[in-house]
Symmetry: C2
Subunit: 676 residues, 2 copies
């Protein structure tokens, strides 16, 4: 057993040299920031003698976690390490002490807290449950870095626990099929930033993605052969549980369900036949709420899926029914009149109530999008809000639990900073009573997959989701955007060691675009463009599931670090003249080699105007600098000319935005005034 | 059936617009170059309608190959493709016509030839055997590129066959353990460049890497748990066969065998106990050739392994016995005197003869390093020469077959150009008769693994091995080094789509080195350094299998493209002034951000002198340019000063070489003369 006297001495030793810091000022690159941390002066060396020991409560999940920790540490440092877990805690570099078993089925009540003490002699992680230990292991790995003596973890004392109990990521595996390895590596990423709910969007107009043994035509006719077998589902659930992550399946009803009708047209509100939807959008097909056979079917299917997925919650979707099939079906209309339903909302409420009863019958609680909330719904449901805090506040006052997704739609290509400042407990929810606030369980980032493929999906999830994960885990006071970006850059690199491809996809896609040429000049352009935001991309072309997503807009990252860095240089213009000039010159001159590469290339031709505008903007920037240095205001004619260029360059082309327009405009404005 | 009249018309249509070109001048980026090629004017579009059909002889290997082709084409282009093989050749974009089954156990006699015709309407690949079809598929994939209309294959007519029957890559899985995925992805790479022998180095002082059921202590005590199970061996053999690659196991005897003796010390020539060797080099332990029990043991083991590996050849190693254990064992000395053996060579010959008889008994032919050749050896052995063409010529004159490895030691970090110009039929072998020349079967690149780990091993194999593969496959006349480098750059990018990590490892290792900072400045330095050459690294430190191979020398690529490109700019100095200056300025200024990053970093401190010298060299280069532009010779004092710098900078530091020393020296020499 670990000697508690030694422990007490070590703790005192730390405290003697420790300064208590606010989480956001600790100087370490932790993400999410822990609830409480004190940083000391010493270091615990990490070298080839590194050993892990387990103490206290034991289970296979902890053994596996220890082995994974060793493998990851070896990979991150490049140091060969023995993969044997040490049996004697006194000989271990890291002791993981777990108190007792966690929940058999992890729920919102699972204790995820842990404490971590690092002294120059040893690191000690203590947690009530294995899930808490998993969270602490991630923190420990984030502490390891290289210093002047080698790899080390700093002397530190951490007490940590999550702010919200529900910290999720939704992946839409329907619009684009996401193979097993995509799901697994993203579960690794989730665990690394302490997310704990994987919401698996499994049915859509474009595909029914899970094997049903009861209704096999669902996957056989509704998936193009791309579905998870029940064995694979179990594999993912076990993989997630090993990482302290719950898995919640979503079967979206009564809309978003065309793929169901390919095999079972009798469920729909209009006669078939149906084919798998290839386009994106909201479509007419919807289940017929007035058909008893629909409920018989759903009873069996929900029963089968409720047995397959152990989580206490079952997601029934419920969003975006346009009602057209209902409106044009006379028998549905007659039914509505007979039963006093005045609107399609009433009809959907009826459907939703029936389905929720089935979910309950099979031992589960319901989660659904905003639409599932209506008078009389049982209090144990969870509302997932795509609408916003106002919806959640209304629900919480009525006694309903909710999670926020509005503000966390990562498919919309907004910057991390935009998601980061969204808080489940702000705006309409900020005024709730403490009791009502407790009903706001957390939030979920949503990765809708119209415009992503397995090749680039990681880049749309990471690293931005790490910033959202910090919002869900860390104290409310952790909200410094600069600190977030500094730590996000480090975390992004760390996530690649897990096998995520959000960085490695980029040179590959750029090289494909560059054809048989070097992609170096293209990268220079790609680094400062971003895909159009929000729903603009869907309006640009008639995209389908058969489209090749291999253009620059698909390669470009959602957020340009290069442009953000440049903007911050411009903000402190006077101190960064040389760097700004060097950068602008490089952008100006990049075209000479780039445009000849792009013109004969079918994939890149559309991007030539962007390349030309970047060059022109760089020239403008250089001229602005000259005026600024001259101390005299730039001539009005010049300013007018540049404004026209800036306005043009601010327009999306090829569904891309040039992200240096704003800082260049700032330079022009300063030049126009003749002073910064 | 495919309409042969249509075919004839198409062929005529091609010929009408075709220019027959020498392979090396075809303008396409094929590697290896095919034996004969004519290029036309048209293009075959590759889009979402792409389909493959199989015609003629069919087997599962062809079906799998067709499916893999579709997957790879989809990945390379980013275009979603149906993974169904088309049944109607008339509807296919590519028809693969195979004539008959190949050998059940692929041998040096397998027919690997194929022909490939691409017209604007269809591509048609014809091959006598499935292995020929596999070779043609790789050529087809290399033809696909992006042009102004989209992806396409050019109109082309190819007749192709290998120059040498034995085109191998050896991977040492002993000194550093190489997991299954390393082997598989390298088999993919081998197939892509038409290599056909995977030589698997499976036993060494540092590890016995394959499961023996007869003598389980071999792997249980001699491998640290890192060995291939027999099931895994079969998996690799099947994987290789699917790609037209033979698998030849090597069990190195009587030296290089410490790991055997950990479990079976009675085989050795000195009493044990033995432990797994951790250092690199040639060590004393060797089997006892005078002990009958050794042959009883080897009879059973060779029997077991001969049944496991289907190839007709079995590699018994035989290299580098230092003889110390034999010299100091009185009973061995007595035996030698008794049997009239005058030297250790005689003793090894005796051992070798006995082992070859066992190999033959179990139905196999022997392959071994030079040392296995001695008077009286049966004519069906193959000599693998680490010594050179002279060895092979001697052997061939005596009627022995041979393959060349001298010149293809890719672990020694020499440039592709150096390996590329080595020909199995040059020097001593050039003077052989045609009949003797036919005994030179080909060659093998050898990846010894002292200084590589699974993390960087691909970068030591690829892309340089593609150049060696071209030497083995293409006509002797294909030897233009510039053309090779141009095509190698393209092939290197293509190889990454197969899952090889020879490019993606690089940013990862640099980012580890840079710690929590950006690796951008470090990359700039890393791009122009190379690891020391030959056996210099082994002399620099006391390396072991427990060393962390995570330094800049481990990240740096064997060959610096940036330095080679810069050297070619300097060769045409007058036309590249701007580019040279820009490059030199960037190198000069890189230190400002780089050195502060390196100094407090234990992994990078040793590289500070390199960074400083690069900056100084760049300054020298800029000054030289100024002198050159002035038209007057540089002062003698300046020249002397620069020479001192150049001499210092040419010395290895941290086991690295700065590769821009030579072109900078050239600039200085030109400046000294006052003219280029």
């Amino acid at each position: 057993m670990y000697n508690s006297k030694v422990k007490a001495l070590l703790v005192m030793a730390i405290m003697a040299t420790t300064t208590i810091l606010k989480a956001e000022e600790n100087g370490l690159n932790l993400m999410p920031q822990p609830a409480e941390i004190s940083v000391g002066q010493g270091r615990l060396a990490i070298d080839g003698t590194f050993r892990v020991a387990l103490a206290g409560y034991q289970e296979p999940r902890l053994q596996d976690a220890a082995t994974r920790l060793i493998e990851r540490l070896s990979r991150q440092t490049g140091i060969p390490l023995s993969d044997q877990v040490e049996t004697d805690p006194a000989k271990a570099t890291l002791v993981i002490q777990c108190d007792h078993a966690g929940e058999i089925i992890q729920s919102i009540n699972e204790d995820e807290s842990y404490s971590l003490e690092v002294t120059p002699q040893q690191a000690r992680l203590a947690a009530p449950t294995p899930v808490g230990a998993l969270r602490g292991i991630e923190t420990f790995l984030q502490l390891v870095h290289v210093d002047s003596q080698g790899f080390a973890a700093p002397t530190v004392r951490i007490n940590d626990r999550p702010r919200f109990a529900w910290r999720g990521l939704m992946i839409d595996a329907c619009r684009h099929w996401m193979p097993m390895d995509v799901i697994k590596r993203n579960l690794d990423g989730m665990a690394a930033v302490k997310l704990n709910v994987f919401h698996w969007h499994l049915s859509e107009n474009q595909g029914f993605r899970v094997e049903s043994k009861v209704f096999p035509k669902l996957q056989e006719m509704g998936s193009d052969g791309h579905y998870y077998t029940q064995r694979q589902v179990k594999e993912i659930i076990a993989y997630a549980r090993d990482r302290g992550i719950r898995v919640i399946p979503e079967f979206d009803m009564p809309g978003h369900s065309t793929a169901w009708f390919v095999g079972y047209p009798e469920l729909a509100s209009a006669p078939g036949p149906y084919t798998i939807e290839r386009h994106w959008g909201v479509f007419d097909p919807a289940m017929d709420p007035t058909n008893e056979k629909v409920y018989t079917f759903l009873d069996k299917l929900i029963g089968e899926m409720a047995a397959l997925f152990p989580d206490e919650y079952f997601h029934i979707g419920g969003d975006e029914v346009n009602g057209k099939q209902w409106n044009s079906n006379p028998s549905i209309q007659a039914y509505m009149r007979e039963h006093g339903m005045k609107s399609n909302d009433d009809l959907q409420t009826y459907f939703s109530t029936r389905v929720q009863a089935l979910v309950k019958k099979h031992g589960k609680k319901t989660i659904g999008w905003d639409e599932v909330l209506h008078p009389g719904v049982p209090k144990d449901i969870v509302v997932q809000s795509w609408r916003g805090q106002e919806s959640l506040a209304v629900a919480a006052r009525q006694g309903y639990m909710g999670i926020l997704s509005n503000g966390y739609y990562i498919d919309l290509m907004h910057p991390a900073s935009q998601h980061y400042v969204v808080d489940p407990l702000e705006g309409a929810t900020a005024g709730l009573t403490a009791e009502e606030k407790a009903r706001i369980l957390g939030g979920e980032a949503t990765m809708w997959s119209e415009y992503v493929t397995p090749e680039n999906v990681d880049s749309r999830i990471w690293p931005r989701t790490a910033a959202i994960a910090e919002r869900f885990w860390s104290p409310e006071s952790v909200k410094d955007v600069d600190s977030m970006y500094r730590r996000l850059a480090v975390e992004s690199r760390r996530l690649e060691w897990l096998g995520l491809t959000h960085r490695s996809y980029y040179p590959m896609m750029l090289e494909r675009l560059a054809g048989e040429q070097s992609a170096q000049n293209l990268k220079f352009l790609a680094d400062i463009v971003e895909p159009v935001k929000g729903y603009a991309r869907g309006r640009a072309r008639d995209y389908t599931s058969l489209t090749a997503y291999n253009r620059l807009v698909d390669a470009a990252r959602p957020e340009s670090d290069a442009a953000r860095t440049f903007a911050s240089l411009v903000d402190d213009w006077a101190n960064n003249k040389t760097q700004i000039k060097r950068q602008l010159t490089a952008w100006r001159d990049n075209n000479a080699d780039l445009v000849p590469l792009m013109q004969p290339n079918a994939l890149l031709q559309e991007d030539v105007p962007l390349a030309q505008d970047v060059s022109a903007l760089a020239t403008t920037g250089l001229e602005a600098l000259d005026y600024l240095e001259s101390g005299k205001p730039a001539p009005q004619a010049w300013v007018a000319e540049q404004s026209a260029l800036l306005d043009r360059a601010a327009q999306p082309r090829a569904e891309l935005l040039i992200m240096i327009v704003t800082p260049i405009r700032k330079l022009v404005e300063m030049a126009a005034q003749g002073k910064p």
